[in-house]
């Protein structure tokens, strides 16, 4: 294992490359340390993303992540509390991009509530299928024994749940969602269907259009449950 001292000297190199001179470090230690911490964090995230995507969650160790990121194991642990936290952060970083995209697209979607939901999930599948193993690592890690039970849950993706709720609220105004339909129940069913559809990618090597087709049928079925009678 590399000593924390090695980690510090390794972490100095990107700061040097960005033009931070020793005297800057001496006079503005907090911000330099901040920059350095940020650089370490990004390197760990990048390395972890690659390894999870190639070897899966169980098949990747912190030691390998550290070595791939060219930082010490110790400095990985000063930034992240656990392997799961790294994975969680990797997913969060990726999803930030996805949801920025969805925020742009959603207001322009036309059609029924079911149609808008279909489009929204199709965008998810197209996005995630490019890093299938990473997503599967995320699902698998949800049930990892060593995690505290309070850790973030697969299917508890708040942003996705909000988007579904917004979709349903718009539908209730437009008249194709029953005003008394419980959004949380619809959300849970859709999330369940969404996660389960990944089995096609995991075991049948399905592509995004195949997963979208299966999800479309499930959305249609759920929609008959929330449409006005």
């Amino acid at each position: 294992m590399t000593s924390p001292q090695d980690a510090l000297s390794q972490d100095d190199s990107p700061a040097d490359a960005e033009g931070v001179r020793p005297e800057d470090v001496a006079t503005s230690t907090p911000s330099a340390r901040q920059t350095q911490k940020e650089a370490t964090r990004n390197r760990v995230i990048d390395a972890a993303r690659e390894l999870f995507d190639t070897n899966g969650y169980q098949g990747t160790t912190i030691r390998e992540i550290a070595s791939h990121a060219r930082v010490s194991v110790g400095s990985v642990f000063t930034t992240f509390a656990s392997k799961y936290e790294i994975l969680s952060q990797v997913m969060q970083d990726r999803l930030d991009g996805l949801y920025a995209e969805l925020d742009r697209v959603m207001p322009y979607l036309r059609g029924s509530t079911a149609d808008r939901l279909r489009t929204m999930f199709a965008i998810h599948f197209a996005f995630e299928v490019r890093h299938k193993r990473l997503f599967l690592a995320y699902i698998g890690a949800t049930y990892d024994w060593t995690l505290p039970t309070t850790s973030m849950l697969m299917g508890r993706n708040q942003r996705l749940q909000e988007i579904i709720c917004e979709c349903l609220a718009k539908g209730a105004l437009g008249g194709d969602v029953h005003p008394e339909a419980d959004p949380q129940e619809v959300v849970d069913l859709l999330m369940g269907a969404y996660v389960w559809t990944y089995r096609l990618a995991a075991w049948d090597d399905a592509d995004a259009p195949a997963m979208t087709a299966v999800m479309d049928r499930q959305i249609a079925l759920i929609a008959t449950g929330f449409e006005p009678r």
Binding site: I139, W145, L153, W196, W203
Partner: protein, 216 residues
Amino acid sequence: MMHVTTIQATDQTGVKAPTRRALAKQQTRAKVLAAARRLFSEEGYEGATIRDIASVAGMSTGAVFANFTDKSDLFREIMMNDMVALADSMREATTHGNGVDDALVRMFTAGYNFYRTQLPLARAAFSVGWSPQEGPALRSSPPVQSLRDLIAEQLAKGVESGELRADTQMQLRADMLFEAYLSNYPQAIFEGWSIEDLQARSRDQIGILLAGARSR
């Protein structure tokens, strides 16, 4: 097991040794399975090692390997035994149902009751169920298939009684009902939902998924 001993003892005197050995093998297997069940519940699938299991069972790792090829073999055996028992109690529950919705709610509730006292094992099962190596085999195993069939049967009964209309979506509906049943386990495992919470949620989910098939 006893009847095997009796038959062999009366018909083939002088070949008791292999019988006794077979009996001892059975007892060893049972001991290993009990130890493994305890450790999987306490340490989870990843945390339980063959070495620990052997030590709890009071035998060598060699003796464990003589009976099971590896850890996943052990876990599979426990899961399969459980699921056969689970399928029985779920089937029994459906017979008390008053209509399709009620039969399904009772069926799901029987499942939640079964695992309520061994949620760690359920959690380990989900973990294995999503693993690329073990997942497909577990999901397509006969006990799991029988749970799916049981749901499809309830829908068929509903069509027969005129409660539901037959349509082309019945298989998908049955699959989604099964997934809805499974999808509530995280709430039980991670958020401590009670049986009543799970039951209420199941009832609503079943209502939504059957809405399109109801006779009007």
